[in-house]
């Protein structure tokens, strides 16, 4: 039946060699590929900005970019990597693999899927264009207020700042369309008899990710809409002296903390699949692994104020958020141990995908240990605004997510429909007995 549906798709689409195909396609694999390629383009853009940051820091008081230019580079590097690279990269994979893993013909709304891709692309291009419209936002990727309201932005730069804000709004629109699409697919289009809890772990991780996205990005959208009012209509949501700054901080971090897991969960799903495949062994404590992931997804919405420990919040609140923060680290302990014990008594093949995932796990352990340091509020006070946080963050979310997902790219998904990746082989042949061997060598 899957084959049949695929053929239907092929019939009304131009061949893959034509450019038109890629402009009109609604096929989930095509869109997955588009997502991955586009996100890699933004990775390079963000990487160039990172190189510019380092170039500026080559000499003390570096003069290559100038103050405002440097701040733009820092801000845009953060925003590009977090919004336009790492999440869409995951969603390229999800687009490609989730329908295959749950036995659906395509996503529930293929045209909506195409639309969320194109909105994503244009939001990114608008973001890059904002450099040439005066200047993009220059107040850091957290866009703290009131630094980013018109009063503190030089006159000439305001069009560019507004363009950045619109780019963010477009991006949220794309993300929301994608979330709704995936949720519908997960709940309405699974193969008969496949319960949610029985889905392969990558699909489970994507399901939890899209739930988090649905709620977290709503808070970000609210915040950037209010910010656009401040820019366009002269309102004072974030420039008012009483609480304007804190309003932004709360809205932003209510989004920002779940975002950490939105970025990381797909990578965790990939790691779980790759570990099982290349150790030739089912994951240890699968049920608890899934429960731990679900717990993290829920708890991620009640830890945001640990980003604001120094903002004059009172001791009881601080204590509560310290407790929830420590609470959210424990399910991660369990997941890490589950991955490690999956190796024990396995038959581990050290192929490229496994090496990537294995490296990602080791990095994540290091990132987790430095994270515990931050859980201690006394230490957190002093680490605020330092490279400790930047490194902990970039280690555990950035590099780990990227590296582990490289491992899935290493599996050459292009060959999927005829020779499914081995991780899928062992786990998801429900509809028909496809011919594939988990021991297949690559």
């Amino acid at each position: 039946m899957t084959e049949h549906a695929d053929h239907d798709h092929e019939h009304h689409l131009p061949p893959k060699s034509s450019v038109k195909r890629w402009l009109v396609t609604t096929n989930h694999k095509d869109i997955g590929a588009l997502y991955i390629i586009t996100s890699l383009f933004f990775l390079i853009a963000g990487g160039i900005l990172a190189m510019m940051i380092r170039t500026q820091l080559w000499t003390p008081g570096g003069s290559i970019l100038g103050g405002q230019g440097y701040n733009q580079a820092v801000t845009s590097h953060g925003l590009l990597m977090v919004f336009w690279f790492i999440s869409p990269f995951a969603f390229g994979l999800a687009n490609y693999l989730v329908p295959l893993q749950i036995g659906a013909d395509d996503l529930a709304f293929p045209r909506l899927n195409a639309m969320s891709y194109w909105v994503y692309l244009f939001s990114g291009l608008l973001f890059l264009a904002s450099f040439f419209l005066g200047s993009s936002l220059a107040g850091g990727w957290t866009i703290y207020q009131p630094l980013n309201v018109p009063a503190y932005i030089p006159e000439v730069n305001q069009v560019g700042s507004l363009a950045t804000i619109f780019a963010l709004m477009l991006f949220v629109a794309s993300v929301t369309m994608g979330s709704v699409n995936f949720l519908t697919t997960f709940y309405r289009m699974r193969a008969e008899g496949l319960r949610v809890r029985d889905m392969p772990l990558f699909s489970v991780s994507i399901l939890l990710t899209v739930w988090m996205m649905l709620f977290a990005f709503a808070a970000l959208l609210a915040a950037v809409i209010l910010l656009s009012f401040d820019h366009l209509l002269g309102s004072v949501w974030f420039s008012t002296a009483e609480g304007g700054s804190l309003l932004w901080a709360h809205l932003f971090w209510f989004f920002g903390h779940p975002e950490v897991y939105i970025v990381f969960f797909p990578a965790l799903g990939v790691m779980a699949e790759v570990f099982q495949t290349f150790s030739g062994k089912r994951i240890v404590g699968r049920k608890w692994f899934v429960i731990a992931m679900a717990l993290v997804a829920i708890q991620s919405f009640v830890v945001w104020m640990h980003h604001m420990f120094l903002t004059a919040i009172n001791l009881p609140i601080k204590t509560i958020f310290m407790a929830t923060t420590i609470g959210i680290s424990l399910p991660f302990d369990l997941m890490v141990f589950a991955l490690i014990y999956t190796l024990v008594k396995g038959k581990i093949r050290f192929k490229t995908p496994f090496l990537f995932s294995f490296g990602a796990l080791l990095l994540f352990i290091l990132g987790g240990i430095t994270g515990v340091f931050l859980g201690a509020v006394v230490l957190d006070y002093q680490f605020r605004g330092t490279y400790w946080v930047a490194t902990s963050r970039c280690f555990s979310s950035g590099s780990t997510s990227f590296i582990s997902r490289c491992s899935s790219s290493g599996r050459r998904p292009g060959a999927c429909s005829t020779t499914p990746p081995s991780s899928r082989c062992g786990t998801a042949s429900r509809r028909s007995a496809r011919s594939c061997s988990p021991r297949r060598s690559w």
Partner: protein, 272 residues
Amino acid sequence: MGPGGISTEIAYVLGQTSGLSKTPADVFETVYLVFLILGTLVGIVVIGYTLTKAYRYRDDGKRDDKSESDKKVVRPVLGHLPAGSGGGKKLFVSFGISAVIVLSLIVWTYSALLFVDDTPPEVEAEGEEPLEIDVVGKQFNWEYTYPNNHTEEPTLYIPADRPIRLEVTSADVWHNYGINEFRVKSDAIPGQTTTAWFVAEETGTYEAVCYELCGSGHSAMRGDVVVMEQEKFQDWYANTTDGSTSGSVSSDVTADTDANADAETAPTEGEA
């Protein structure tokens, strides 16, 4: 590190020392040291274990599937729904151990948090009241107001060995006031007042820095912190008048102060 070492540290941080011998900087150093040692140990154990097992169970083509230890292992089978392997007990034991370590560390640091967040009570009992200074961040400078309404900018003059209590706010955008040497840091938010305290134990010149991106002059938003001996500070403070500023106080006083400070710094550093 044995348990005895840790309990000594705990006693230390819980405040079984007196007076000025314990400052927020000391607390930070102790907690940091304990975390660093434990974190390194945990990292070595976990990563060492992982690497060992990954090597031990590599697929070298020699092991036989039918060996005794492999029989219990659940291998992926074509057409089956994904299931889990056994080994749940080991999983929960490791999880339990890690949870105990993390939770006990956090409970322990909570007392340190209470100490840092509180005013310094044991010091007040000795009759040495903390010096209260208002700090206002503004692009791109720090302005200090002393109890007698004298304002100083951009240099902060304080006495050594006396708790300094800061009330920090901002006149424009979000800043973060921090003096790394004394392990003190506090957000400067417009419309909000945050508090923090510290003790400077050694005279000398240090630096106060902004830790929150606040515009194109952010990286230059730093000012000296001059720590003077208590008598020197009293002399300097007596010369400031109600409502005066660093600019309006006769320049010779300020210059004199700077000279004092410099004179102060030199011998101290010599002694050290």
